[in-house]
Symmetry: C2
Subunit: 310 residues, 2 copies
């Protein structure tokens, strides 16, 4: 099968009318009125972001979900995505067949359409780039730089679970199952993000590690983010020490949870929306004037660093 056969057999069936069923050089969509369009791109590379022996269905879902998480951080609702796959020839057919199955399931789950993309061979490592497009009512996208003094700081879900999964992928103990699942299949908080849009002052998705992503918010707002580490929603997995679980939560990365600030007056509102979505949402600190641009615990900067590519 050449690339045209592969596209016809596995990707055209999951494409959209906007993609013109992948027959043209580009896709065409008519923008909806009174909406802003939000665009984000994420690449995952074998050996860096994934090991390569995962099921292609899971690689597909993780690629899509990391992008969905970026849209969620802007409080945008997903609409479309474009997909670029580079894969070695020998693996191409079976990889793409199963990759497309994963996409199909998540397209339905997240109500998002495939616009098009590119399929190329490469000499060794698989690389996937997704470009995602979402919408938000005009002027309502959430930035990282607009938190205010006295805002409360919240985080969704549990931090560090995915990193614990990654560090223990080869262990068979059932206590690691939930952590491994979180690593393979992040749960982007798309619907929750959409619901809190009007009550949030700044937001980011925790993907590079809590401390680093929190510092991005603090720096861009030029305020201090004071954290109560005791309140941090870390994993309760009994097999690991508190220190290990806290470390994974602080610098582990790959959480794809939302970290956001919200005025104190919305406290009950946030609690109620979290309950509606059956989602754990924890108040872990607040925003203040002080060590501006820093993330602190008991007035001391937390200077831990996350994974860096370069």
């Amino acid at each position: 099968m050449d690339e045209f056969d592969l596209i016809r057999k596995y990707l055209v069936p999951i494409s959209s009318t906007e993609s013109q069923f992948l027959s043209n050089d580009g896709a065409v969509f008519k923008p909806k009125i009174n909406l802003d369009y939000v665009v984000s791109t994420d690449t995952i590379v074998e050996k860096i972001h994934f090991k390569g022996n995962e099921l292609p269905e899971l690689i597909a879902k993780k690629a899509l979900r990391t992008n969905l998480s970026d849209l969620a951080a802007m409080a945008a609702d997903p609409e479309f995505y474009s997909l670029s796959i580079s894969v070695p020839k020998v693996k191409a057919r079976s990889f793409i067949e199963n990759f497309a199955k994963g996409l199909k399931e998540d397209q339905k789950k997240y109500n998002i359409k495939l616009l098009g993309g590119d399929l190329t061979s490469t000499s060794n490592l698989i690389s996937i780039t997704i470009n995602i497009i979402g919408t938000v009512p005009t002027g309502k996208s959430i930035s990282r730089s607009t938190s205010m003094t006295n805002d409360l700081l919240y985080v969704t879900g549990v931090l560090g679970l995915s990193n614990i999964g990654l560090l223990n992928l080869n262990k068979n103990d059932k206590q690691y199952s939930k952590a491994k699942l979180k690593y393979y299949l992040p749960q982007p908080r798309v619907k929750f993000a959409s619901s809190i849009r009007n009550f949030v002052s700044s937001m980011i998705d925790v993907s590079d590690g809590f401390v680093q992503d929190c510092r991005h918010l603090a720096r861009l707002s030029n305020l201090e983010f004071a954290i109560n580490l005791k309140n941090l929603p870390i994993s309760d997995i009994k097999i690991l020490s508190y220190k290990k679980r806290m470390n994974s939560a602080l610098i582990g990365g790959d959480d794809y949870e939302l970290l956001f600030t919200s005025a104190p007056k919305y406290k009950e509102k946030i609690k109620k929306i979290a309950k509606t979505h059956d989602l754990r949402v924890t108040n872990i600190g607040y925003v203040k004037n002080g060590n501006n641009g820093q993330v602190t615990s008991n007035d001391k900067p937390i200077n831990l660093n996350a994974y860096k590519h370069f």
Copy 2:
């Protein structure tokens, strides 16, 4: 320099207000009214699409221009692009610095804005994915499947020149200069495409080789494309045989010229617009009922094949 330093130093200066200067998880744009949005994605991989020893400025321009050519094929005007760069750590700084210089120049030349992207390390080969967004008046994008019987078939520029450049990259003879330049720096026909929008029935950009791309149009319209090979605008480079020059034109690829069909009544109009753009545009055949889905010369299908990834 970590990825944040690299982005701050080299990519933020060439970013746009819509990109929010790369500070957020995504970019935000307000769509213009009465326009359709056209989206396309292309990936280029070291050792497959480029050798790796080219100047990063040229790799940047080629990556952007191959995408611009896809927009041109849909008759869309460029607006925005997103960029994903995967590069080995040791090369990162110098590559990105010079890559950004190339982008800056072409952003100005083609009036296109950087929305955002992703920067990741990879263990060996450079890979670049660009997602491009353009606009076209509502309903006016051009498809590959809508050519009509008796339409005339045209192609812009010279075919095979880029392939001749590629095959002779290491030769110093000055006769190859123009060909090598075309290989390194394609000239997407963006403004010409926009001008012929209302007079064209189907269009594609010649990127995989003339015969194959022509066959895409013929198949999608389910008509025969009858070519007069004598009229094909092949290179006049004296050092090569007619056969070699014709072969590069038929299956060489990397031309990024436009191949389009247009009703006979627009013949003078097309000629006039071509003249305005100082662009060679050649009538190389016509569309007919017959060997439907085939590209023919003297009623015989031309069954040459182009480069395939898989």
